[in-house]
Point group: C2
Chain length 335, copies 2
Amino acid sequence: MKKKVSITDVAKETGLSVTTVSQILNGKGARFSEASRKRVLAAKESLGYEPDLFARGLVGKRGNSIGVVIPDMMNPFFASFVVSVEKVAIPRGLFPQIFSINGFHENVDYFIRQFLGGTQRGLILAAPEASQEIVQKVSRQLNLPMVFTDQATTLMTGDSIRIDERHAGFLVADHLLQLGHRRIALVLPKRLTINLQDRFAGYQEAFAKHGVTFDPGMVFPSSFDPEGGRQAVARIVKTDATAIIAINDDVASGVYRGLYEQHKRIPEDYAVVGFDDVTQARFMTPGLTTLAQPIDQLGQQAVELLVAQMSGEPNTRNTIELPVKLVKRGSTRPI
Amino acid sequence: MKKKVSITDVAKETGLSVTTVSQILNGKGARFSEASRKRVLAAKESLGYEPDLFARGLVGKRGNSIGVVIPDMMNPFFASFVVSVEKVAIPRGLFPQIFSINGFHENVDYFIRQFLGGTQRGLILAAPEASQEIVQKVSRQLNLPMVFTDQATTLMTGDSIRIDERHAGFLVADHLLQLGHRRIALVLPKRLTINLQDRFAGYQEAFAKHGVTFDPGMVFPSSFDPEGGRQAVARIVKTDATAIIAINDDVASGVYRGLYEQHKRIPEDYAVVGFDDVTQARFMTPGLTTLAQPIDQLGQQAVELLVAQMSGEPNTRNTIELPVKLVKRGSTRPI
DNA sequence: CGCGATCCTGTAAGCGCTGTCAATTAAAAG
DNA sequence: CTTTTAATTGACAGCGCTTACAGGATCGCG
């Protein structure tokens, strides 16, 4: 059983005191003789010393990792989001630790205990389904810097960064409407989170603008994965729909599949549009028209807000709103 | 600035000693009066106490999280793998902590420091590009239980679990050959990791069996993402290939796209086969013929081997080999 | 040769928690 | 009413590390 070498071992080895070793290794204030410095470094190397993170964390330096909570890493949107966070956090010396719920509620409990346990220096919450619970429990006991990229709840502490969901929804529906589509199927989850409610309102707005009345019969509930989209299609083809709006690109890929199975062509028989503009959207055949979320900016701003909070800035409860745009590809065309 | 409430606060509140509180909260040996127990629980609740993980970790209970290192969470194969690990780890009270490299080498250094710092109770390494480095540095100083799901290097400590890459490669190529294809393009990364070398040997074996000589000119280097596949196609269409083998499903999706852009049909003009059988493979149009990795089993066995090691079983250096099978879908058909 | 300034290093005090073990008290037994 | 035995609880040490703060050299300069 290998024993972990501790700082005292290094001290003994070098004949210096623990303090000195610690100081040198942390590059702290007092300058030490070149000789000591070299000895310490050498010993660290030869002994293979690495500081115990628990001990160090206990003292006060709580480490440099920030938690990034996402609902599901199978969804490319969130995977990209994490990467975009890393892109700006890492250069700042902050290491994102991924907390993906993946459908396990035990995970949420566990995450909360971790956060409450002080393992993270800040939190980026991008998981509508859990944000609320996390915020409530965590912010009650700790004032951990937090940033949200969803609007799971309106009354939360911390900064939040969002897109204009309503406008986004409007753009999507308006695009289809402008192309002449009137019977538009909506593939949505059964329960609409706050942001989805906004988006939904955006659809309505577009309908109204074009003078078409919204038909609740055109709403097709679906899970948040391709299979949901695929199954929805089976019902959609029985209607007179000519266009399909999927809640996100992942679901849209299922819609593609469903349509394929029903021997329908895109965009000849059905126009389809997604949401998010994940990498895959560009690779689908035909390319998916979709509403592009500014993923990189989302990640970047989230980190920046977090850093601001960490450096003591008062919790201003900022809400930053990022612009969105519709990316037109081959999956839509005039009716 | 909210102050974190510590166990002493709870002790004061209840008038009991810190020890007692700790014992009760941890459900330890000695039985305590129902009264005390209640008081402690109540105080914990009202004060909102949650143990400091650093302090607890320092004492000896190093927490219950296991590290899962993957190269890239954008690749659905690894995302699924993580989920499959969670499925069996969580019920055992072990929480997988995801460490995804995502192309940031800083991450690897950071991860190593975490592991060396004792934050994890065990490691599941599924990142060929980093496993070697991690093992070397970590196992030199700590004997952390480790399990590999790749064969990045032959001489590593710890258990490993793999698929028969050679046979897998054979199945893929043999399938195409049996369908009558003779000119088969291979879309592979430039540098072949050990497992890919085996897979490659499997291709050769199949070629040999069917008496076709391997043409190095049919190898098209690609990155590990859809874009790589897409670009490879541009070159492939200039040859007389009739079939394409992609290194994985993700790349295959790029191949689909590339073919689409070149106005080629699948499987009429080109048969294509992938590797992994990620969820998406089923949703592509046409469905992708691919070699199914037993993802769930990989995850499950990895956890089981890890648990065995953690419970003190001698490091047996087991190597478990899992069966693979070819899943035929619409992307391949007789020439 | 003395005195402050300049360097370098060690002593000691915890951080919050758990485990060991002794101490206290209450209940049971003699 | 004293002695056992069991039921509860608390004192204390210490995990490995950092961080004041104090102490000892060394050096320059009057």
